[in-house]
Symmetry: C2
Subunit: 436 residues, 2 copies
Amino acid sequence: MKSIGIGLIGLGTVGSGAVKIIRRNKEMISRRAGCHVRLVRFCDKFIRSKPDLGIRSGDVTSDYHDLLKNRDIDIIVELIGGYEPARTMILDALRAGKHVVTANKAVLAKYWDEILSTAQKHKRLVYFEAAVGGGVPVIQGLNEGLAGNRIAKIMGVLNGTTNFILTKMSEENMKFSDALETARKAGFAEANPAYDIEGLDTAHKLSILSSIAFGAWVKISDIPTEGIAKLDLFDLQLAEREFGLGLKLLGIAKENRGKVEARVHPAFLPIGHPFLSVKNEYNAILIEGDSVDDVIFYGKGAGQMPAASAVVSDIIFVARHVAEGTAGRLPYVTYDEKRKIKMLKADDSLCKYYLRFTTKDRSGVLAKISGLLGRYRVSIDSVFQPTVIDEGKIGPHAHILVATHAVREGSVRKAVRQIDGLSITKAKTVVIRIED
Amino acid sequence: MKSIGIGLIGLGTVGSGAVKIIRRNKEMISRRAGCHVRLVRFCDKFIRSKPDLGIRSGDVTSDYHDLLKNRDIDIIVELIGGYEPARTMILDALRAGKHVVTANKAVLAKYWDEILSTAQKHKRLVYFEAAVGGGVPVIQGLNEGLAGNRIAKIMGVLNGTTNFILTKMSEENMKFSDALETARKAGFAEANPAYDIEGLDTAHKLSILSSIAFGAWVKISDIPTEGIAKLDLFDLQLAEREFGLGLKLLGIAKENRGKVEARVHPAFLPIGHPFLSVKNEYNAILIEGDSVDDVIFYGKGAGQMPAASAVVSDIIFVARHVAEGTAGRLPYVTYDEKRKIKMLKADDSLCKYYLRFTTKDRSGVLAKISGLLGRYRVSIDSVFQPTVIDEGKIGPHAHILVATHAVREGSVRKAVRQIDGLSITKAKTVVIRIED
């Protein structure tokens, strides 16, 4: 049996998990890879031994070039995350003739073309199952298992941190800030959680899934992204009570007549929707193909071992190909630099909306608002005027809840802007999408 | 671009679906396969044109050897199903140097070793995504995406026909025979449905999943299999009302201290279990790995286009490898003829049970039954004596429902056999497993 060497960059949570799995399942991994998978050397900013992982300080370098120069290393595993220096490390590794396994969604979403074209040019593999859905093998599923399908839609609960927070808000009636604090204490939110909370992590993952599904790079800058930080518990409660809706942060991409629409935002879903039973750190990804219809992948989207599991699965497959001498003859993801995608303008996107207007408590207000919505062709599905009057900072006021039919986003924005300028309006209108 | 030739055997439902997809998504398939995928010739027992599929009668032969001899054909797609002549066709194809794509779970489960070793010997690929889960890419997921995991458990709703019937029984309070008739009319049950109803189809699929997961052939003869034909609607209703349980036909395989346990049977699941929302022709497969924890794959497990979608995805990947000259250098499923698995004896299997005793309506009966259960160490979790007394054929009687803790199957069988022999017992005891 041949021996295939691994150089691993980043001995943090996922890196340590991957080392644990490789040590623990040594025999099984050799059998599946058809070769010995040997951890040759590590790169980390801290040079120190990790006795529980069988790592001596001499095995660790702080200069990743040491790994690239090492002829015993065939595969570089990048697990430090973020844009840089991860991007440079990956590109240098490919240029140095190494294959790459990474869990880094940020660098892939931002430098998709550069990384894939460099890999193709140097006939090296880049595998990245752990970048989306943690341990859930959705990249494989989309890229290979569903390859015969023209993908019509991708919809995912893709971020564990925000899903944990939203679960706490809806199940325990916690305010956003309290739920965030709980997530931090449970280890599901980082010290600076902006990256998750603002939806950027979800956008990165959606960019990767869409780029595979539609055969061309869907850039993060082409994905309008809204996070969950401004959500009011009040709306979760009202929407559940009055419309039977539950809330999730979703990444959604659709193809329609040659144009792709991709967006990240919180959205209400009807009670009974399978995504509403996706709780805490779990992820779920629905993929709709023209032949297969809906397929759902579900599992732990965050945590050390699920992500490490995906990394090791990638290592096994790259190692198999290296041992057999076939690695890099075919790229993992089919990719054509010249193929471009037309994105749908955000204003042209069609969606149902939940609108909460905060107005003076007087007659004629509903007529005024519904008149303005009508003028912009925002068609109303149902209206509620809950009796909750929060005196609060803004004094006595009323709420009007509207659920719309599917309407153009541009029209909704225009109507709401106009309504927000009226003297009867006492606070900015809350606008949240409703998905089916 | 190279052209890779397909010879397709079986122009039935799935075969016609595959041809439709290949014609419809031609450009996309070429892009993903990196070559033209060309339908060269067809084999079917009926020599006739199919104008809607662009097939002339001259394209069809009734002798599959014509396909094997054709030098333009690289890949044989076998879609006739069943053990023979499918087995001979697949083996002949591999020996003739063709790669094989099949949707045939029966032939794979029954001749796993023979087919995989022949493929390995001739360095040819065998892909079979459509054999399990219809369009759901669970074979890819298990074989590649979760390869870094030691698989602890597989549990699946794997058969669309029986799931359709059970959905009708539980949601519309239909008797088994009426639900079967409804399934027939809806096109979800064949004229002779025994293969599905008796659990054999589920056993075939479980055999394939287990053989991949545990790295050695798990034979159908090693999978104790019970179907759903003897289920009484009464038990579904009682178990839901008294214990909050719902019923599914499950295929379950587990590894425990080097031994594998595999079984197919109807089982109750607690309300809220994700599998209870898997309805009608949908399938769901839960895979538990030592690192990834639970992953669930969900989607349409039956129907023309979902199964055809999986066949075409396989064709794309085999064609890619053929075009690149790498096909068959590595087998798809890692397989070692010499590796054997120890199966757990059915009697040693541990499970919770639902037991319904039908007894004379007199005092002391419960004491007698619970005494006998205790003697065989069948530990009782809860007992109900519903007031429903069906006079029916057997005259006045009472029911005693027992939910047990996890107990040895052998013990339950012995206790029930003894209880069934008592003079107070008026009908054979109903024994149904409860899973978590």
